[in-house]
């Protein structure tokens, strides 16, 4: 194993909460696209050798899985392929393109305004821990601020989420830039993501 320690992963496994199986499907699709079948097999072998029950091929999109596995999956992907944090951010940015739930919600709530309204529900569709809320949405000012509260997990996930939010807005807006301006893991009461577009 590279930089990750088994004890660290074991600790993560004890994190409370659950996540939809769709995230593992999304991870698998991204790896298939970037590294091909061989890459996915390499990751699966790594996960299996460490004894984590992540089934990239058979996970049910709408099924619930322990939240810790979500972070473990990201950490093992980063470690297996030697990716940087910014590559994990890129992975987060591509994820909504694969996500059935995202595509489904986009078919129902086409405009940014309608979509922003759905953010809290959207979060709950994926995670049973934390709450995401829209603090500010200015259509004319082209700015969105969201807070993620009660969600202290792992810094790598912050990067992933930064990319994820950016892509969601990119479906509707041009030249979106999203940045995490406050992190709950750095003595802030919540995570804050500010997105601006042209």
């Amino acid at each position: 194993m590279g930089e990750i320690q088994k004890e660290e992963l074991e600790k993560l496994l004890k994190t409370k909460g659950e996540v939809r199986g769709a995230v593992f499907q999304t991870d698998a699709k991204y790896i298939l696209e970037k590294k091909g079948e061989e890459g996915l097999k390499k990751l699966e072998e790594r996960v299996k050798s460490l004894g984590y029950p992540i089934d990239y091929r058979e996970a049910k999109a709408t099924g619930w899985y322990p939240f810790g596995l979500r972070i473990i999956s990201l950490l093992l992907i980063k470690d297996t392929f030697g990716w940087s944090d910014s590559e994990i951010r890129e992975m987060g940015k591509t994820a909504p393109k694969f996500s059935f739930i995202v595509k489904f919600l986009f078919k129902i709530f086409g405009s940014t305004r309608r979509l922003v309204k759905e953010i809290p529900r959207f979060w709950k569709e994926h995670y049973t821990i934390g709450e995401m809320e829209t603090v500010k949405f200015e259509e004319k000012g082209k700015e969105l601020i969201v807070h993620l509260i009660n969600f202290d997990t792992y810094p790598l996930f912050c990067k992933y989420l930064e990319g994820y939010i950016e892509r969601i807005l990119l479906f509707n807006e041009k030249e979106v830039v999203t940045e995490e301006t406050k992190c709950a893991l750095k003595d802030n009461p919540y995570h804050e993501y500010i997105s601006r577009w042209k």
Binding site: K60, A61, T62, K97, F98, G110, S111, F171, N172
Partner: protein
């Protein structure tokens, strides 16, 4: 109360499983369909695209998802206007802009997806590649023009021959008169 909760949990599990099946069926359909089709949201960003469309556009994997149709359709504004007014377009000829600055002539059909208040929530698009048909049409046109030319030439020759025959006849008559 506990029995009720158990029933709810059981129902949720069944719904969840059904949704998973539905998801894989829908995704499978997008992959399988041999027709280039897509669903775009209200601002014309592609949300779902069939494998056939990705192939036509020369996109790899999910590259087409998130792409705006404005960058793909040559006369996007005209199509958008028409779609907003009529909410349905059937077999309209247009040009698809694909990778490497290439163009493909297609027949476009599109339909709006509306909510119960008839507010537009997205659009379905289908494209039929007619580049080959167009090329054959051009070839046919060229051949028709060649035939017309040939026909003109043949007709002209025939008229000349009639004229020459008349002339021969006249000369023959003159010769006959002289010898008699």
């Amino acid at each position: 109360m506990e029995i009720k909760n158990q029933k709810i949990q059981r129902d949720q599990k069944i719904i969840s499983e059904d949704l998973s099946i539905l998801e894989s069926q829908i995704e499978g359909l997008w992959q399988f369909l041999p027709i280039p089709i897509c669903f775009a949201n209200s601002v014309f960003s592609i949300i779902n695209a069939s494998k056939a469309l990705e192939d036509i556009l020369g996109c790899k994997g999910v590259e087409a998802i998130g792409e705006n149709l404005k960058n793909v359709l040559k006369d996007f504004e005209r199509i958008k206007r028409e779609l907003m007014q009529q909410r349905l377009i059937i077999s309209k000829e247009t040009t698809l802009l694909i990778k490497n600055k290439k163009e493909i002539i297609v027949e476009l059909s599109a339909k709006t997806k509306e909510d119960e208040k008839r507010e537009i929530m997205g659009y379905f698009f289908a494209f039929i590649d007619i580049t080959e048909v167009k090329e054959k049409e051009k070839e046919l046109q060229r051949k028709v023009q060649e035939l017309e030319k040939l026909n003109k030439l043949a007709t002209g020759r025939e008229l000349k021959m009639v004229e020459l025959k008349k002339e021969i006849e006249q000369l023959k008559n003159k010769l006959d008169k002289k010898s008699s």
